[in-house]
Structures are given as C-alpha cells and as structure tokens.
C-alpha cells in the first residue's frame, strides 16, 4: 500500500509510488486524482483513500455537485418546457427529464409532475459538454424506486456526508431506523429526503444525519442512544 494513504493531500502533490507502473499494473484513479504526463497528480484537497486491489481516490469536503453518470440524485422540478422538465439537481446547469422517462408513461399517458415536485432520478447523461439528463426508470422500463416523491422533508448536506451514509459500513441510518421507522431517499448530489411518522422524528433524524459527518462509529452509536433516550422520557 502506498505511503500517503489516509493522509491529507493537497492539489499539486505528486504521488510518486502510484506513478511507477510496475507496482500497480491496473491502477484505477477516482475523483481528485489525475494523470499528468507520467505522474499521478492530486487535484483536490482531502484525504487519500485506497481500496484493494489498486483503486485510489481523494475524499474531499465539497458542497457543489458535479454530475456523474449513473448516480442517483434528488432534484426539484423548476419548469415544464414542452416534453421535458427542467430539474434543479444542484449542479451548475439544470438537468432535463423527459416525460417519457417514467414507468408506464406513453405519449398519451403523461406522468403527473408539477413544478416544485421532488424527483428521485438517475443520471443518464453527465458529461462536461452537455446538459445532464436524468431518468426515473431503469433499462427494463421499471421505476425501481425512482420517480416523484411526495411528503416528507428534504435537506441539503455536504457530498462527503452523503457518500458516507450510502457506504455499506455506515450504521447510522440502520440504527436510527430501529427506533424510529422512516422512509428515506439519498441523493448523491448532497440531498437527503426523509419521511418519518411524526414531525419531531423527522427533525431528529435530519439533525442526527447532519451532525454525523465526522463522527466515528462509536460516536454515532452514542448519539443515536441519546436521541432515543430523550425520545422516551
């Protein structure tokens, strides 16, 4: 394993060990790293991460979303323009959403989408030269959980926190769910939607999630316990 893993790296740092091709024949670079001539150069400040066999990326604190193809995101419908909706997904440009990209939608049978609705969708097109496009169906035409979301509450948080929450070793959501049942949709664009039974549950969950960004496993457990105990007293 390379020397700088789990350490802070800064833009312009050259990772010498990764640059030697013998050690990692199939090197995979994630966000925050790029190849400049023969060197692997850091282009974001954050913590260098590594996963077997040879995947490297930089964990950063970031709030502005850059669309990535295939990611699930939460957006707000801003306008209807002909046969597409314009959806705000927090990126520099609005995403488009075709009215045919819903389960069971045909030219006759239009989906019921209003301005201001929340959309849980998947990015179909995301590259720097085109405006992003989202869909609410998978390749087989099923919604598979995507679509218009009603009720509940959505809040914004940093992209790092969202990634932490969706990672399989984060117990926070499960722990909270044991005590307060709730529905959730996590958008990788830094938006989380939550729908719990009562108002106070929703507020508690949203605050717990926001606070958990830099907490260790132990700390999250303690926090959840605190919330739950204050709940029943």
């Amino acid at each position: 394993m390379a020397a700088h893993v789990n350490e802070v790296v800064l833009p312009g740092d050259i990772l010498q060990e990764l640059s030697d091709s013998e050690q990692y024949p199939k090197l995979r670079l994630g966000p925050g790293l790029r190849i400049d001539v023969d060197n692997v150069v850091v282009c974001k400040c954050g913590i260098l991460r590594f996963r077997e066999p040879s995947v490297f990326w930089v964990d950063t604190h970031q709030k502005r979303y850059v669309p990535v193809k295939g990611e699930n995101i939460l957006g707000i419908v801003i306008s209807k323009a002909g046969d597409v909706f314009k959806v705000d997904i927090g990126s520099s440009e609005m995403a488009t959403l075709s009215y045919l990209a819903f389960e069971g939608a045909t030219k006759r049978n239009r989906p019921n989408v209003q301005i201001g609705d929340l959309i849980y969708g998947k990015l179909l097109v995301a590259n720097k030269d085109m405006e992003p496009e989202i869909v609410c169906i998978d390749s087989t035409g099923r919604s598979s959980g995507l679509g218009v979301i009603s009720g509940g509450f959505m809040f914004k948080c940093s992209l790092g926190l969202v990634r932490k929450i969706v990672s399989p070793d984060c117990q926070l959501m499960k722990l909270l769910g044991k005590h307060m049942p709730y529905e959730t949709a996590v958008g990788l664009n830094g938006r989380i939607w939550i729908k719990a039974k009562t108002l106070s549950h929703t507020i508690a969950i949203s605050n717990a999630v926001c606070c958990a960004e830099y907490m260790s496993k132990k700390q999250t457990e303690v926090m959840v316990k605190q919330i739950v105990s204050s709940q029943w007293t």
Binding site: I76, L199, S230
Partner: protein, 394 residues
Amino acid sequence: MCTMKKAAISNAEKDFILTCIKNRRRVDGRQAYDFRNAKISFGQDLGHCEVQLGDTRVLCQVSCEIIEPRQNRPTEGGLYFNVELSPMASPLFEPGRQSEFGIEIIRFLEKTVRDSRAIDTESLCIVAGEKVWEIRIDIHVLNHDGNIMDCVTMAAVTALSHFRRPDVSVVGEDVQVHSAADRDPVSLSVHHLPVSVTFAYFDEGKYLLVDPTEREECVMDGSMILSMNIHRELCTAHMSGDMLLVKDQIIRCTQTAIVKVSELTDLIKKALENDRKARASGNKCGFAETQRQQKVTYLKRDVTEVDVSDKVEIPEITLDETEDSKDQAESLVVLGKGTVQVGEGGHNTWLVDDVQGVKPVQQKRKKKKKHAAKKVKDAGSSEEEETVILVPDS
C-alpha cells in the same frame, strides 16, 4: 442590473417547514426566538474579523485612507461600505455587478452604522476642507445560510471597534502620518454598537421567527429587521416582503430585539476584550491560531440540542396576538392605492363584513364602534337586525 437567482425549493420542504412552524418547532431544533450560535474571531490585522452565525459566515476588513472631504461637509470623514457576494457563498449569487440584494445590504449598513452616528465622523477630520479619513469597510460573505443582514452588521460593528487608524500630527500646513512603530494607532470613536435582529413572518404575519435560516427565508412571507443598541435606541427598521403588520406586533418585536441585542452586544464586547487581552499579553492571535487547533474538522457542524420529545413546548409567541391580529387584519380598510387604515375611523365596512358573516369579528367591532350607532337594541341576536340599526358615522 442583474438580480439574484431565486432559490429552488420543493413543495415538500415548504410544507414541512410551514407545518413545523405551525407546531411551534423549527427544523434545526431551535425555539422561535433563539439565535443560532454566534462566533466571532479576529485576524492578525486590526479591523479584520470573521463572524459565524450557524453556517452563515462573513469576513470583514476595515481600512482607511486620506481623502478630500465633500464640499458640503468639510469637517466630516467618510464611511464607505462594500459588500461582496461571491458565488462561493451560495450558487444563488452570480459574479459581476452588484445585485439588488447586495445593494440592500449596503444601504442597510449605511442606515444602521453611518446614519445612526455610531462612528464619530467629525473626529476623522485632519485638516478641515482638505484632508479627512475615509474608513472603508469591506465585507465578504463566505457562506450563505440565511440571515446575512444580522451577520454582516455584527461583523461591521465588531471590525470597526477593533480597528485602529494611524495617528497623524499636523504642524502648520504639514500633515504627518505616523507608522505603528512610531506612535500607537488610535481607535475610532465608537459612540454605540448598533446590532440588528431579523424577524421572519410566516402565514400572513401569524407566526414569527428570529434569525431565519436560508430555507426559512425561502418560505417566509416577509421580514422585518430592527437594529438597536444596548441603550434601547432603535437605529433602523427595515421591512421587506409582502405582508402587513399590526402596530402591536412591531412593538412586541422591539421588546424581543432588546433582549437579543443585549446578548449579542455582550458577545461582541467579550470577543473584543478577549482579543485585546491576547494581544496585550503577546500571545499569538489571528485566524491561523484558531484554525490550527480545529484541524480538518474545522467545518464540522456543532451538535445542536434537539428536543425530540412529543410534548409541545410553546414559546411565548404570537398565540394571543394572532387572534387579535386576525381580527384586526379583517378590519383593514383600503383607503386608496398603497394606503391602508387599521382600526377605528375611515370608511366603514360593516355591510361588506356582514355578507361574509364573520360573527365574532362583528361583535367585537360592535363594542368598538358603539358611538357610531344611533341606537343599539340589546337583544340584537340576528345579524340582519344589527345592520339595519347601526349607521356608519361618516
């Protein structure tokens, strides 16, 4: 002129925030009259400070320059405010020319700090009609999470009291500016510290919150900003949005503002005192010092105490006032374009109200305007009877 982009807010958020407010709760667990945690830190330079109000952050730098005074005020120095709303603070801010919101902030600062004579501008005069100090206050909004106005005012006032200008001596025609090594820089003469408090109104003025967050600002009907000093002198009242307020509500807000202003003034004074002590004892000071201790997790959000129990703690907000105000709101009389009258006098709208059949309002009005009636039958239970008997006083 470019305007600020409108924030995208979903119906779900809007509904949730409104129901929360109606249930006397706030999304971040605060009570209606609570401010978020405020934190003031100082840079290494004098007159350089950063104010955080929750996640809203503002950086302020004060500098000075010798200029020629204005013709009509030859013995007064100037205060110049500049506010930068960079796109880093929020995607809503666009680069380029000053937005309407930016101008609103600058104007508000001018009203609050300059026009309330918080700074003695006469003492900034060096040679009358020729040379005066111009104090320049540059404010950068680093992060926008609502209530920029209060944060900016706090930053400006703190930085101005922190600032020291170089000493000058005038010998005949010659003006000599002394360096800091030569003579100790002198502080500005600050008469009082105006601090502002923002009130956000929801549901036609029925509910009221202090220190709204960015999301709450998206939902609110309008806001009123009161700036005051510790002596309970009102410096500015600034209203925006489309809503009507009743006199009682404004007076009630000033009562709340008095409490909040004294808390914030204490905070500012304490921060200034701490910094003065640190500088006097030769300790290291400045942003670098505060940053180093907090490591990577500098941006970590402070844990907020959230009351998750289902018992509803009703803070003393507008509950009784709302019923009251509702009644009064219905007695608003439009006298002409942009003019509205509340309460007695003016045109009578009895007949209009009777059609709507609002009984409790009617009864109340009956008491108020007894003098307007020529004679009142005691057992006037039906609405129609009343309208026949009573005659408008105009």
